[in-house]
Symmetry: C2
Subunit: 409 residues, 2 copies
Amino acid sequence: MPVRYTPPAPASLLPVPGVALGTAAGKIKTWQRDDVLLAVFDPGTTAAGVFTQNRFCAAPVIVCRRHLAASGRIRAWVVNAGNANAGTGARGVADAQTCCTAVASMLGCTSEEVLPFSTGVIMEPLPVAKIVAALPAAQATLAPDHWFQAVSAIMTTDTVPKGASRQVNVSGIPVTVTSIAKGAGMIHPNMATLLSFMATDAPIATDVLSALAREIADVSFNCATVDGDTSTNDSFVIAATGAAPMPSIEHAGDPRLAPVRAALTAVAVELAQAIVRDGEGATKFITIRVEGGRDAAECRKIALAVAHSPLVKTAFFASDPNLGRIVCAIGNAAAPDLDPARVSFWLDDVLVVDSGGRAASYREDDGQRVMKQEEIVVRVALGRGAAAATIWTCDFSHDYVSINADYRS
Amino acid sequence: MPVRYTPPAPASLLPVPGVALGTAAGKIKTWQRDDVLLAVFDPGTTAAGVFTQNRFCAAPVIVCRRHLAASGRIRAWVVNAGNANAGTGARGVADAQTCCTAVASMLGCTSEEVLPFSTGVIMEPLPVAKIVAALPAAQATLAPDHWFQAVSAIMTTDTVPKGASRQVNVSGIPVTVTSIAKGAGMIHPNMATLLSFMATDAPIATDVLSALAREIADVSFNCATVDGDTSTNDSFVIAATGAAPMPSIEHAGDPRLAPVRAALTAVAVELAQAIVRDGEGATKFITIRVEGGRDAAECRKIALAVAHSPLVKTAFFASDPNLGRIVCAIGNAAAPDLDPARVSFWLDDVLVVDSGGRAASYREDDGQRVMKQEEIVVRVALGRGAAAATIWTCDFSHDYVSINADYRS
C-alpha cells in the first residue's frame, strides 16, 4: 500500500477537451488485463517532452525525440506495459516505428505525429505484432473519460493507479489539466522520471510548451527518487490540444500562462510524490531538504546521497533513530571544503545535530517519535550560503528486496 | 556465512617480530567479549596510513592524521569496537586524545606515538573511561601471537574474523607480513575502506611506507564495495617494526622493496575480498570488470554504478538473469558520448550483450546457470579505449535489510 496516498476515483480524472483514450488487452505478458493504451488528440495539438538521460535509452525514447523534433505537433500516444523495448538495438527502433505507423494508418496522420512509449522488462524483443493487433480494440473504446482505464493499463509494479486533474480559470475561460503517471522502481531523477502523461486544452505554442515541460520536470519528477536507478525509458510528455476557446499562448511572458503553469506544476508535483509514496516496498515518505548551500547543485547532491544510502533507508524502515548514518551520508557527498562544524540537521522539529555534533538538547525519545511517523522531513543546514534543494524518497524494506528479487517470475 | 571465505586458523596469523598484541573486555556495549585492542611496537617502528575521505570523519581519524604527521613513528595502536567516536565534535577529539595519553603513560612514550581507532555506532559519546580502565588488562595479555584474538576483539557486524599472513625472502632474510581487518557494512571505496591493520618487520622509511600505503589501498580496499557508503572511520595503517636484521629501505627504487610490496599487496587484496565476501547479508561475490574505456576513471565509475544498483544487486540475490538492469546501470554511469552500439558484456563466459543489444547467441539458460553461482564475473567492454578497472561487490539480500534494520537493538 502506498504511504498516505489515496488513488484517484475514476470520475476525479477530468476529461480534457480534444483528447480521447482507449485501452485493450495485448497479452504482452501472461496477465488478464489491458496493457495497450491509445490516446488520440485533435488536429493542431502541440506537444513537448523530457526524456531519460540514460545512455542506453530505450527505442521508444529515440523515436519520441525524433518525432517531436520533426513537427512539435502530435495526434496520438501509443503505450504498452510489460516490455520496455530497451536494450533492443536497431530492431527495437524499427519495432517502435512499426507501432507508430500502424496508429498513423488508423488515424490518417503521419507516423511522426505518433509518440510511442513502453514500460516493462528490459532487453526482450518487443512483441510488436501483439501491440498492433490490439490497436483496433483500443480504438473502439476511445472516450474522453477513460483516463482511469488508461493509467490502469500502463501499471507495472505500481500498487495503485496514479493520476490528478485541475481546472483553472484563464481570462474567464475554464481550462483543464489531467495527468497520469506510472512507476514504482528504477526511479531516480535525471530528467523526467518514468512515464508521465499530461494533457491540457489550453492552446500553447510548441516552444513555450517545451520550456514549460523542462521547468515542470525539474521541480517535480526530478525531485523524486526511489532506488537511484534512472530508467532507460523515462518520459514525461505534455500535450496541449488547444480546444479551449482562446488564442494560442505564443510566448512565455503571456499572463495567461501563469495559471496554466501553476495547474500543470501542481499536478506534476502530486504525481511525483505519488510515485514515491507507491515506491517499491515503501512504508515511509521522506522529504529531504538541504539548505544553506553555496549553490543548488551541492544541496541536491547531498540530499540525494542521504536519499540513496541503503543504511539510511533501512534505518527509516526500522524506525530506528540511528542518525549517525545521515551524518555519514552528508559527509560522503559534501564538497571537500565543507566545514562539518557548521552543519546542523533536524528530524521534523527535532534538532539532532548542532554545529557538527549531537545537539545538547537531543533526546533519543524525540528522534524515536519522529522516526515512527509515516511521513518525515529531514532538514539539513550547511551554513555556507543561501541555496537549497528538496528531494522526496522512501525507505528500504524487506518488500523492496522481495519485489525486485521476484519481479520477472 | 561469508561467500567462499574460510576464516584464518589462529596459528596461521604469524607473529611479526617487534609487535605484541593484547585485548580486554571494556564492556563498550552489553556484550560478553573483548572489545579493546592494544598493539605495542618496538621503538623505531615507522608507520603510514590512508583514511576516509568522508567530510564527517571520525575523531580518531583526525587524531591519527595529526599523530602520523608529527613523527611518522609509532609505539602503539589502541582500538575499540562498539562506538565509532564519530559525529562527536570537539569532545570526540579530546576523548581520542585521552585514550592515546593513557597508553603513552603506560608505555613511557609520547601520545603522538599512539594511533587511536574506533568502530561501531556513530554519534554517541565515546565511553572513554571504560576504554582507559580496560588498558591494563589488555597490556597484561600482550603477546606476539595474539593476532587472532586482536581481530576477534574489533569485529562489529562481521560474521568471521579476517586476517592473513605472508613470509617472503628479502635478500636471504625472511620477512613477515601480517594483517587483520574488520568491516561488513558502510563499505565503499573512497580511500582505505574500514579498519585494516598491517604490520611487517621489514625496515621501511616513513615516506616510502606512506607511498606504499596509498598504492596498496588503491588496488585492494578501494576496489571493494558492499553498500556504497563510505564510513566516517575508515582507516588502513601499516607499521614497519624494522626488527628484520637488514638496513632500512630508504627509497622506492630499492630492489628489496619488491618482494615486500608483493606480500603486503597480496595480503591487502585477500582481506579486501574477505570483507566483501563477509558483506552484510552477502550470498554472492561479484567481480565487475570494465574494459576498453578511455581512462580508468570512467571504467571505475561504470563498475561502481553496476555494483551499487539495488536492482542489479537484488537480481544477483534472486539468481535472476534480469540483465537489462546491468545495461541500465551502465547507461546511467556512462559518459554522454559513450556509444551504446559499441558496448558488450559477459557473465563469466556467456556473452549477453553484443554491440549494444542482446547477443544473438545468448540463451536465458546460460545466464541462469551463471547467476546461480556463488561467484560471478561481470565483464563489460566499452569499445573506446584501453583502460580498465575492477570492483568487488556482493548481492543485496533480505538479510542486509534485517541486519541494518536491527543493528542497534
